[in-house]
Symmetry: C2
Subunit: 340 residues, 2 copies
DNA sequence: ACTGGCACTCGCTACAGTCGAGTGCCAGGA
DNA sequence: TCCTGGCACTCGACTGTAGCGAGTGCCAGT
């Protein structure tokens, strides 16, 4: 495959120009704006090759070229230089995140910040419970047969569930239950918890058994099994920039996808140790998002990762800038979490 | 003003047809589809009057008529008969809401249900803290200088805040603090709380004073003053139905408005004892929503109102149906809350 | 291997012409 | 007095045609 340096330079120029202007780019415009040192005709030949290889295409015969998903992929992998954040952005990040009160606050500020900086749709996953450990469990009697279970995780997440007891229990028993679950569970990772939770029933005093059984069921079901992820979203209005040219005319599928927590989790929640992930157009497993690109990464205090965050935008997006921003925001958030 | 019965009937017919077809309706089509008992010419005369009075207008000279905001208003106020829910809808509501686990669950189910039934954007406000009373306050030590304050309200809402203490305090003091705040605050409405909270400091034992001071500040600031409303949203994808004809071509302003909590609260949060509120187009105070209509109402256990819910859609919406649905859903949710 | 030149394609815009839905008005009739 | 049928008129939507121009592919020449 004959992709010499100049052809790559041409592809890069096409991507950059198209992202900037949102219009198919022709050979003349290209040599004018970039110092390629060759004539339009030569560029045309290179374009023909690039098109044959599937990196660019023509919307119609007499139009300029537009990058394909494959073209963007090559651009991201080999052609884009990392764009350092501007001092202004850097300051914006700090200003935005300093002074956050608690986890909710951090997440909300982060998602708005991301949306604002990238001018795209931002998604932030709350620290995953599966990756958190238990800091404290509280049982608050609501009535004689109802408890409110409040779990506080080391990541700052607080979750609550109503527990419907099979029979009324006295206040002292609640105290005992509380002591027992805290004794056994505090400090453990939730993903390691199931056997411990199951063991709880056996360790409880006989008269506590029934209550402990339902309690452990609730714990397992709601906190571990369907591990109750939370997500914050911002910047959907940014989808309307580029007035329907992006997303092939309809926001419908995108908006639908964004309403599904499951989908969002797939997008940003699959946190691998890998640093950062870019999914371009067709590479998205979700059909509704075939016209979009997603840049996502994990974040967490220090080197550990507790959740994911990212942005979603048109395939025609400023990848270097977006990547830099996402990475920077993730790092800042990580530091913020580490402080707590 | 000469609006006899027939002219009103004509207006009603225009609204109904336009809502159904989304196309300007002419005099011929009108007499064909509705038993008005008069000729198109007569209808035309009536239309001329209606137009003069500002209830309908012509998009352009050779087109049919379209209702104005004022026309919709008249329709809603005087011309629409209440449309009873279909048994299918009724069943949908029950099926959807039965089995909700806790407040979060109720709110999420409700907002999705509303969006689905009305095929519009649904908004549900969590029970307002200002209208809740304190059921329990929990203080969980995070470190020697940090407490997690967890408040459980009678409406089922649970809020937490991190409290940064001025100096380390021992565990017994936390217990004392907990006892004290619960003693004084449990059972009070949050809106009546401020004097009580302020009094707390004086009632605390001397060595508790500093901690109690910051604690009461947090209580006042976060739970009472900026009373921390929460909102759930669903169905934004429904904005794209009617393909850009509604909302004069751009979803932008709508999406922007929907991202602002403050705006949403204005929309549905101003809960008066009034049963149900319809804001049509221009009647909306928010500029971005001048092309939309909002149907909202309060909900709560029994006769009391703890929060608002509603839907937002194009001015060209099925008002009777939407109103019926919103009202029904609010009632069901109220019943559900009453059970807890 | 690159370049200038040239023929060709094809979307875009402007313009003219036709069609038809819908109107407003008026004279005649119940 | 109120309704109706008839008629002239308006104007947007659609169609077809023509010219423009950006952009290409190809080829012969250096």
């Amino acid at each position: 495959m004959g992709l010499d340096d100049r052809k790559l330079a041409v592809l890069r120029a096409i991507v950059e120009d198209y992202v900037a202007t949102q219009e198919p780019v022709g050979s003349r415009a290209l040599v004018e704006r970039h110092q390629l040192g060759v004539s339009p005709a030569t560029v045309r030949n290179d374009m023909a090759v690039l098109e044959e290889e599937g990196y660019i295409r023509q919307p119609h015969t007499s139009a300029g070229r537009v990058p394909t998903d494959r073209g963007y992929r090559l651009f991201v992998d080999r052609l884009s230089r990392v764009k350092p954040l501007s001092p202004a952005e850097r300051r914006a990040i700090e200003r935005f995140l300093v002074g956050a009160l608690d986890l909710d606050d951090v997440v909300h500020r982060t998602v708005r910040l991301l949306a604002q900086l990238t001018r795209q749709v931002a998604v932030v996953q709350y620290p995953s419970l599966a990756r958190s450990s238990v800091r404290h469990l509280e049982l608050v009697p609501i009535s004689t047969t109802r408890l409110m279970l409040v779990m506080i995780a080391d990541t700052g997440r607080v979750e609550q569930r109503l527990v419907e007891l099979p029979a009324p229990i006295p206040a002292e028993d609640v105290t005992d239950l509380r002591r027992l679950v805290n004794e056994k569970l505090v400090g453990t990772r939730l993903s390691d918890t199931p056997p411990l939770v199951e063991a709880l029933v056996d360790e409880a005093a006989p008269q506590l058994r029934p209550a402990m059984t339902t309690l452990s069921t609730v714990l397992l079901e709601t906190l571990v099994e369907r591990h109750e992820e939370r997500i914050a979203l911002a910047g959907t209005a940014n989808l309307t920039r580029g007035g329907l040219l992006d997303f092939q005319g309809s926001l419908r599928p995108i908006l639908e996808a964004l309403e599904e927590e499951v989908v969002l989790l797939k997008l940003i929640g699959e946190v691998e140790p890998s640093t950062l992930r870019v999914r371009i157009g067709d590479e998205n497993e979700i059909d509704n998002l075939r016209a979009a690109s997603v840049v996502s990464t994990g974040y967490g205090p220090g080197a550990t990762i507790v959740g994911g965050l990212g942005v979603l935008g048109p395939t025609r997006m400023d990848y270097p800038g977006t990547i830099a921003t996402v990475r920077a925001v993730a790092r800042y958030v990580g530091e913020l979490l580490a402080q707590n």
